[in-house]
């Protein structure tokens, strides 16, 4: 059950040029978390900025009651968040959304993360490994500096590949190119992916006619986070006059089947 709660910041550390790791102690929020769920975070007290920011749960420790968020400083909200100091209180809503569907796990599993989209995948990969799954992990980033949690990934992944746009580490190019190659070499029957919409969209032609269950976590501008405001909708395929209907990323998602959604842009 989602809650509004005040967490206490235990740490808020810069991990590379743009990314920060926020550790919050929140005794209440933490039961029954599903990887892929997110928090709706009030980055500052006061009105500037006014709205909360949706940020995934990167990792959590039920026993210690700790949540970890990995976030990239992008605009006003995340910038303000990066200025918060340990000891301060932070107002959180969560856990929100439905997370990845782990009830229908397949055998040959791949996890694909692009940019800061890799953040929620850590909790997922940990859970998959706990469930004794072997996981191939593909991580895309702009450059080596932006690759997150490499050592932990090495520990967990059965196979691990990186792609960087500038070629500073691993494959030089887009993660989707690496994905295409990988799918030629091996067969997979399940992919979990998180990253910017253009990345997800670029995955579609690569996967297209293959028989793979693909779950994607979407981003959307959010108001409420509760399903009330209808700000965050994405298109899903339905048979009506429009050829689509809107679903809410905050409560119907953020994880959807790739089959189901129509990625715009």
């Amino acid at each position: 059950m989602p809650l509004q709660t005040k967490g206490k910041i235990l740490a808020n550390k810069q991990v590379n040029e743009q990314d920060y790791k926020l550790v919050v102690s929140v005794p209440e929020i933490i039961e029954e978390l599903v990887p892929g769920q997110f928090l709706h975070v009030k980055c500052t007290e006061g009105l500037d900025p006014l709205l909360r920011r949706p940020l995934s749960i990167h990792k959590y420790d039920e026993e210690k009651g700790e949540l970890i968020i990995l976030y990239r400083v992008f605009g006003k909200g995340t910038k303000a968040l990066s200025r918060r100091e340990s000891g301060e209180e932070i107002d959180l809503m969560g856990p929100l959304g439905n997370g990845f569907d782990l009830f229908n796990l397949k055998e040959r599993i791949m996890v694909v993360g692009g940019g800061i989209g890799s953040a929620p995948l850590m909790a997922l990969i940990e859970r998959l490994v706990e469930l004794n799954k072997e996981v191939t992990v593909l991580i895309g980033a702009n450059n080596q500096d932006q690759i997150l949690c490499e050592s932990k990934l090495k520990e967990l992944a059965t196979e691990l590949k990186f792609a960087t746009v500038d070629g500073s580490y691993g494959y030089k190019g887009y993660i989707t190119e690496l994905l295409a190659e990988k799918l030629k070499q091996n067969e997979y029957d399940q992919i979990f992916a998180c990253g910017p919409t253009p990345m997800l969209k670029a995955m579609e032609p690569v996967i297209e006619d293959k028989d793979i269950d693909v779950q994607v976590s979407l981003e959307a501008r959010m108001g409420c986070g509760t399903g009330a405001c209808l700000s965050c909708v994405c298109k899903v395929k339905v048979q009506n006059d429009d050829g689509f209907a809107y679903k809410k990323v905050c409560t119907d998602g953020p994880v959807f089947n790739m089959d189901e959604v129509i990625l715009d842009e």
Partner: protein, 304 residues
């Protein structure tokens, strides 16, 4: 707090307290059941409802602005039949008063919506939205012309025994003129303000951020405009007002009551702080108590 009287009687619409939630910002109430005790709310003004289901506008639908936000949801809603058959049964047993916000493209649509909603149990009042800036046809025009506004209100009034609330647009030269027109047309209550029309442009893409180009500005940024309009309208009409526009906490809510609103409605603040409505009920109680009042009605309109 025992003998404080928070009840307000808005021309027949009785509320256990003057705190409502604003249409489009609180869904049908149930979306907030984990965050607030819904039974404590005075009322819930549900999402704008139309005769047929509406898909709404393309995305992006919102943009953040200084101390405010723009929205262009485009009245996405499942339609009145779905509301009556699926949603109303789930929410009608809460203690809050369910107020249905209705929008039509024509006077006939308002009429039909009114008839349908007046036949069922559990609807406490109708809020006639003549001011939504996000529908292309009708919508806004109704709210900016006194005669057209009156026409809609009369049509609704003739077809229902429910108290009717007319929701005014702030995007007008003289809000008191529209208020008088809808009062004369039979509106039992007036609610104001809806959003100001605004726009934001992304200097990278060089295009408006909202897919709809323009949207409705809400949040604390618009509060001074809302307070001013309530202050003006309260001194012009006799019907009670439900005030809204940028209320973020109980101090703001009290400001609206002092300006002349008999009840207040919370919009954007629900996003910032989902528990805000409870804090506002408590805060109003505290204010009354600390200042030696016995009922909330004593402070309504004290600022003029």
């Amino acid at each position: 707090m025992s003998n404080l009287n928070l009840k307000v009687d808005l021309n027949g619409l009785e509320l256990q307290n003057p705190v409502l939630t604003a249409s489009g910002t609180f869904g049908f109430g149930e979306e907030y059941k984990d965050y607030v005790d819904l039974n404590r709310l005075g009322g819930v003004m549900v999402k704008g409802t139309t005769l047929k289901p509406k898909a709404g506008n393309p995305t992006p639908r919102i943009a953040e602005t200084p101390a405010g936000m723009l929205n262009a949801i485009g009245l996405q809603n499942p339609g009145v039949d779905h509301f009556i058959n699926e949603i109303l049964p789930r929410i009608k047993d809460y203690e809050f008063k369910t107020i249905v916000n209705i929008s039509g493209n024509t006077v006939d649509e308002y009429k039909e919506l009114t008839e349908n909603l007046s036949k069922v149990d559990g609807v406490a009042a109708l809020e006639v939205n003549i001011s939504c800036p996000n529908v292309k046809k009708g919508g806004l025009a109704f709210g900016t012309e006194p005669e057209m506004a009156a026409g809609v209100v009369e049509a609704v009034k003739e077809n229902t025994d429910l108290p009717i609330i007319t929701k005014l647009s702030p995007n007008v030269t003289d809000i008191t003129e529209i208020a008088k027109a809808v009062e004369e047309a039979g509106s039992d209550i007036i609610s104001l303000i809806n959003t100001l029309i605004g726009m934001k442009i992304d200097i990278e893409s060089q295009k408006p951020i909202l897919a709809n180009n323009i949207g409705g500005l809400s949040g604390p940024a618009i509060r001074p405009v809302a307070v001013r309009m309530i202050y003006q309208v309260a001194q012009t009409v006799d019907v009670p007002l439900i005030g809204m526009g940028g209320i973020m906490n109980s101090r703001d809510a009290i400001e609206f009551l002092l300006a002349g609103a008999s009840a207040i409605s919370i919009g954007t603040a629900n996003f910032t702080n989902p528990g805000v409505s409870m804090e506002i009920i408590d805060g109003i109680e505290d204010y009354l108590e600390e200042n030696g009042y016995e009922s909330v009605e004593e402070i309504i309109g004290l600022a003029y």
